[in-house]
């Protein structure tokens, strides 16, 4: 069966520091991968999605970037965090054979101080 991992689970970072969040998927190949952000009490905002290694599409212009160095690895990064980057970050995957369904990881809580 497929599983999705995210780490770290919780992160507290100072403003201006760099960021690296990692997401990996097991049990599938060539998944579509997604990064979402959820501010407190609000809905999901799609940040990036990837249909293959090295292929990244950005949905919202901001100081975040994403990379996909391996088939089942998706990384969210920032060179300098802003206060507004605080939130809950969710990684999701979708398999080619799964009729458009997304499955989500456990998420990372990021607090920027």
């Amino acid at each position: 069966s497929q599983t999705i991992h995210q780490w770290p689970a919780t992160l507290v970072q100072p403003v201006g520091s760099p960021l690296s969040l990692e997401c990996t998927v097991e049990g599938t190949s060539n998944p579509n991968l997604y990064w979402y952000r959820q501010a407190a009490g609000r809905g999901l905002q799609l940040l990036f999605y990837s249909v293959g290694i090295g292929q990244i599409s950005s949905e919202v212009p901001q100081n975040l970037s994403a990379s996909r160095p391996q088939d089942r690895q998706f990384i969210l990064s920032s060179k300098k965090l802003l206060l507004s980057d605080s939130g809950f970050y969710l990684c999701a995957w979708r398999g080619d054979r799964d009729e458009e369904t997304q499955y989500f990881g456990p998420g990372t809580r990021l607090l920027v101080l």
Partner: protein, 114 residues
């Protein structure tokens, strides 16, 4: 562009009773999928139920069922025999067939009271 509207920001229900969460969507597409996700206090998003638009039969998963009205573009979720563990945010989502990107509603917060 598609939009998904969840008109009930908050709902509450007594344990063991039935509750219905509403969702409407706007699209010109004919082939698409609809989803309900649950986000409990742990905040992990969990798929509750999925409906293919070309299927007339309403999807069911144990205590969860949907009322899919394609012409009305309505996709409500019914939770029967509500349990305390059903307390969560519920998100409705739409995805056009062949698309990579779903559209989510803003969510409904459901509280189940003992």
């Amino acid at each position: 562009a598609q939009t998904v509207t969840q008109s009930q920001p908050e709902m509450s229900v007594q344990e063991a009773e039935t509750v219905t969460l509403s969702c409407t969507y706007d699209t010109s597409e004919n082939n698409y999928y609809l989803f309900w996700y649950k986000q409990p206090p742990s905040r992990q998003m969990i798929l509750v139920i999925r409906q293919e638009a070309y299927k007339q039969q309403n999807a069911t998963e144990n205590r969860f069922s949907v009322n899919f009205q394609k012409a009305a573009k309505s996709f409500s979720l019914k939770i029967s025999d509500s349990q305390l563990g059903d307390t969560a945010m519920y998100f409705c989502a739409f995805m056009k067939r062949g698309s990579y990107i779903p559209t989510f509603g803003r969510g409904t917060s459901l509280i189940v009271h003992p």
